[in-house]
Symmetry: C2
């Protein structure tokens, strides 16, 4: 019960949560299906890449010395002794004064040490099969226009570290090595509970005084984007025993629990009490120095993050993005948050703020003179369409009295 | 056969391709499963949001006039006549001098026009059930601390336009309206063929002169990220009839065809010929003013984009990102490319370039003084690990002789 009722800056608050999290267990999957997953261990090259010397041009494999001093006015004359077919071993032997036809990507004969681009050559007389003469108008250096063995990757090199979020090119890099299966961390399962006597499921008619549950579904979307598997756990009434029972069941089956903690003070206090009674350490902090979203509850039970979100939709999304999303990445073993989705833009209008608080203001983006331009849109944080109509959120750092038009600001795309 | 053999700037080349594309047909799906899909038609609000006046604070619903002039030294005295329970209609009547307990999100009685925050009040004497007196220390204006009917969304307003890529908050916005199903464009099916006598599947041993197919899988990853469904169609030998047959079958079943067009001039010429014989208009252009990737082939057959990629992995990815990815978005009806993945960063080193060509240089990103810092990493475009070890690509615009350290540049995260 290490409960702190002080309001912490977001970075300190996140560190308290991160200290509770260790990456989930690993599982083996096909590399072809690994987009967006995270490596559980570092991966080493089983062999060098490329495994043979390859031409980077269409042209002729030669001994570079055969071309020294060659120019347009004084070409070198070489005898073509054969062709290296694509996909085959280059079993030709090249002597000084000789050349072999090679194609881009083709293997270089062992006795050759450079490639002359076809554009810098001229066939003399008739090209009879693979037995003719060429003029070379430009000298090449040893190693020119070819890839050396291991030039892409040296043998046993670490090709991907542990905790790496897999992108298309990483999949290509693994398959280039013939690595067909890898060990990745399990996808975190996140259960989301909504609380509130006024909340009804979205497919039901909302009567007078009632609203439809939307936070469960916006949070589920953020969970999916971060690589987690959301489980919308339904709506729990504002009663201690009901919430306690639902939370206990949810945390047993999930890797993380999110509670839409309601908007009123009494419901938030109840959520704090429920989290504290779930296990150790319980609530880590209650209150973060941000707007929107100050009354966020952050806790952990046996390494499983528990987050109590404010009830209004803008606060809920901003706060889940601030704590829930990084927690999902940490559960997968990703230390540094992906940069995708964070852009810099030049501010078009002034934003007032209070020092000692991190503010997030919805913004519309447009193409500016020197990059992106961001226009702050001021709206109540109770309005979901404030976010629907925005492209992202401008971050007003902790210790500023606001931002002025013309400043460069960080915008989280939403 | 409107075949142009001139090398076009990327923007002009894209416009030629886009002119051939119309969005795919629509299908109806559950809103809960619509993350990353694209609206096929614009969506109107079936009712205003909120549907009733809601409190944004814990406190008391009042007639604002009852509080005029109230201050700490001269409070207004009000009689509390009841409580509005959460999730219920507010059927209390409030007269001047009266108040009703309301919770954040609760309904406001019809005769009230403002809410006094609980922090600005004081209970006088004992709080007997719902019949007691309070002091109000701060005046409120009409409409203060409450949301009006339709303040979030007015009835019949367009809540999402057609061609909108659905984000978590859009799903929330739709569900708030009770909209459970929406019409989205079908996911584009993209068939990817690899060509080359030297190419073997990644699960096979690559012998002397052979390499494993990786472009099919890196392109498949980019297709998935853009919302398409990739179909890796296998490896076709470098023979005209084989490629023609494979392309004909592929285009019949798919919405778009990608051919890894090989690296040598002869294979590229063959690909151009195959695309031209597939149907109308055939090849639109052969050659784009970019590096890497100049020899890209762009075409269309009956509204289906066909893209012939250079064989080397960096060129293939850069060019697919330049033509294939926007084409997939266009097929879904998205006009403007999502900004996610494009960041601005301050360059750490100089980059030389040729005017009249758009260059893409792999870059490492780090946190700089005024935002992101990008360091160009120079490597051969034949090396897949150039991209594995990079965070993105720096764009060197068409008509510059290069970029200098300190300049702000656009980086495409990869």
């Amino acid at each position: 019960m290490s409960e702190f009722f002080n309001v912490l800056p977001p970075d300190e608050a996140r560190e308290l949560l991160f200290a509770q999290i260790t990456p989930l267990s690993a599982e083996s999957i096909n590399v072809e299906e690994s987009l967006g997953r995270v490596t559980a261990v570092s991966i080493h090259a089983p062999h060098p890449l490329p495994t043979f010397r390859r031409s980077t041009m269409d042209g002729y494999a030669v001994k570079a010395a055969s071309t020294y001093g060659a120019s347009g006015s004084l070409p070198a004359f070489l005898h073509v002794v054969g062709e290296v077919p694509m996909g085959r071993a280059a079993d030709l032997a090249i002597s000084t004064g000789e050349a072999a036809i090679v194609h881009t990507g083709g293997m270089i004969p062992q006795t050759a040490d450079a490639v002359v681009q076809v554009e810098h050559t001229q066939v003399i007389g008739e090209q009879v099969a693979n037995d003719f003469e060429i003029e070379v108008m430009k000298a090449v250096a040893v190693g020119q226009n070819l890839l050396q063995v291991g030039e892409d990757v040296a043998e046993t090199a670490v090709i991907l570290p542990a905790g790496h979020l897999l992108r298309p090119q990483d999949i290509g890099g693994l398959l280039a090595m013939g690595i067909m299966e890898i060990s990745v961390t399990r996808r975190p399962r996140i259960t989301i509970l909504a609380t509130g006597d006024e909340v009804v499921p979205p497919n039901e008619q909302a009567g007078a005084g009632q609203i439809r549950d939307i936070n469960s579904y916006t949070v589920a979307g953020l969970v999916r984007q971060a690589g987690g598997v959301p489980n919308v756990g339904g709506i729990v009434p504002d009663h201690f025993e009901a919430l306690q029972e639902a939370a206990k069941t949810a945390i047993a089956d999930a890797d993380m629990l999110v509670m839409s903690a309601g908007s009123s003070v009494s419901v938030r206090d109840m959520t704090v009490e429920v989290i504290d009674q779930l296990g150790e350490p319980g609530v880590l902090l209650h209150g973060v120095a941000t707007r929107p979203g100050k009354p966020t509850i952050v806790g952990a039970i046996d390494g499983k993050p528990v987050i109590g979100l404010p009830g209004n939709p803008v606060s809920a999304m901003v706060q889940f993005d601030m704590f829930g999303v990084p927690a999902i990445y940490r559960l997968q073993g990703v230390q540094e948050m992906p940069r995708r989705g964070r852009v810099w833009a030049q501010l078009s209008n002034n934003i007032a703020s209070e020092s000692g608080r991190e503010d997030y203001i919805p913004a519309k983006l447009s193409d500016g003179e020197k990059g992106l331009a961001a226009t702050a849109v001021f709206g109540k944080s109770n309005l979901i369409y404030t976010l629907v109509n925005a492209d992202g959120l401008i971050k007003v750092p902790l210790n500023t009295g606001g931002l002025l038009a013309g400043e460069w600001v960080e915008v989280r795309l939403f």
